[in-house]
């Protein structure tokens, strides 16, 4: 059954015809060409597909495209400010928190969700928050450092802005 779904993706209104069974991640990757969001498993565990829906981290492989009707979706492609990396992206780079890069978009979207709710997370809180994001390359060590550094940079940026 074909349905038309309308939503806002990375600040732009989009409309697409999808099947009921089309997943949000398929809409993003295949219809909209936003291939920064990845699929790493079939069981909603690995987190490579995490995007923000209405400002919250969501596994886009576990949401039907039709369920995103009217919602606002933000993907990794819209995190940097033009060519300038977001402080969290910069922290990932500076702390070598990525290797193959496949889990990275989901990690960053999850990290931003964490920091939104907990601006100064401890190591333990970061590790627990990443329960739904797998990385096979880094052993998480540098990801934890990066999220800490990214959170600090975001707090600094907020202070500077105020």
């Amino acid at each position: 059954m074909q349905k038309t779904v309308s939503l806002t993706v990375n600040g732009k209104p989009v409309s697409a015809t999808v099947e009921g069974r089309t997943l949000l991640v398929q809409l993003l990757r295949e219809t909209l060409g936003l291939t920064g969001t990845h699929v790493g498993c079939d069981t909603s565990q690995c987190g490579a597909c995490v995007v923000h829906v209405d400002g919250e981290a969501v596994k886009s492989c576990t949401l039907l495209a039709v369920q995103a009707e009217g919602r606002t979706v933000k993907t990794i492609e819209d995190v940097a400010d033009g060519d300038t990396l977001h402080p969290m992206q910069e922290a990932f780079r500076d702390n070598h928190a990525l290797q193959c890069g496949f889990c990275t978009p989901g990690m960053i979207m999850s990290a931003l969700d964490l920091v939104k709710n907990n601006p100064d997370p401890s190591d333990r809180e970061i590790r627990e928050y990443l329960e739904g994001n797998f990385c096979r390359c880094t052993g998480y060590h540098n990801i934890v450092l990066a999220i800490k550094a990214g959170a600090a940079a975001m707090r600094g940026a907020k202070v500077a802005a105020e």
Binding site: S44, A57, C61, L63, D113, E131
Partner: protein
């Protein structure tokens, strides 16, 4: 995933009508259903999305306890100031479900209706003596959870809310499956006006109470009081992650820890 017809009704009555067909399924947060569909383990003709129906969300303090709308997400229960004040163990339990992105979508009504034998909420409902409110009736939690992935819900019956009475004290202890992070064993202990309740999830095919522990704790509410009370391992789940014998042992350990955490 097999193709299906997708519906997003605006009222419970419309939803119930759409559900009347045997092959229709409800979707709330979809955190269990969508993976199931992806693996082609279910083939619904119709998917009925509850997202557009008003009045199913929210946490209210009522009659000294909490009423939580079926479409209330785990993250909302986890972070709710009301839940933290009235039944802090329930907020803590919600924070142990799945992972943050799952908690941002998954709902209490969906979890309860699915009745996964390793899910966390059934332990809270039975442990607290909660009542499940549906479009047709109110059912006690123990009568609601009838078996593995089975509930008392009729085909066109929809969970609308859960009513939790406030306990004097309560705690949940979860021993996580290292792979799925579901409960290998989760024990919810509550001291209530009607006595102590001990509910176990993960260990068996369906959530169950441990009357021997409840009786012992009723006499003396201390971890030591149940130190020697074990559940028989016959009938418990046994898989590559934990044998029935180990699960039976963990029920005791988690129960003692939950009792200690109630203090």
């Amino acid at each position: 995933m097999y193709e299906f017809n997708y519906h997003k009704p605006a009222s419970l009555a419309d939803a119930a009508k759409l559900l009347a067909g045997e092959e229709a399924k409800l979707v709330a947060g979809g955190m269990t259903l969508v993976p199931t569909l992806k693996q082609r383990l279910a083939k619904p003709s119709d998917l009925v999305d509850l997202a557009a129906i008003g009045g199913l969300k929210g946490i209210k303090e009522e009659g000294g306890g909490l009423t939580i709308g079926a479409m209330t997400r785990h993250v909302e229960v986890q972070r709710s100031a009301d839940v933290k004040r009235v039944i802090p163990a329930l907020a803590a339990l919600a924070g142990m479900i799945g992972d943050p992105a799952v908690r941002n979508r998954g709902t209490i009504g969906g979890s309860v209706s699915n009745n996964d034998p390793a899910a966390d909420y059934p332990a809270a409902l039975v442990g607290l003596g909660a009542t499940v409110v549906t479009t047709k009736r109110e059912i006690g939690a123990e009568q609601f959870f009838t078996g593995m992935f089975e509930t008392a819900l009729g085909q066109d019956e929809i969970v609308t809310a859960i009513k939790f009475p406030k306990p004097q004290a309560a705690a949940y202890q979860k021993f996580k499956n290292p792979a799925s992070r579901y409960a290998i064993v989760g024990v919810f202990v509550a001291r209530t006006a009607g006595g102590v309740r001990v509910a176990v999830t993960g260990a068996g095919p369906c959530v169950f109470r441990v009357p021997a522990m409840e009786a012992a704790l009723g006499k003396s509410f201390s971890a030591d009081a149940i130190k020697d009370i074990t559940v028989p391992d016959s009938g418990l789940n046994s898989d590559i992650h934990a044998s029935a014998e180990y699960r039976a042992h963990l029920v005791n350990v988690m129960a003692r820890r939950a009792v200690a955490a109630c203090a």
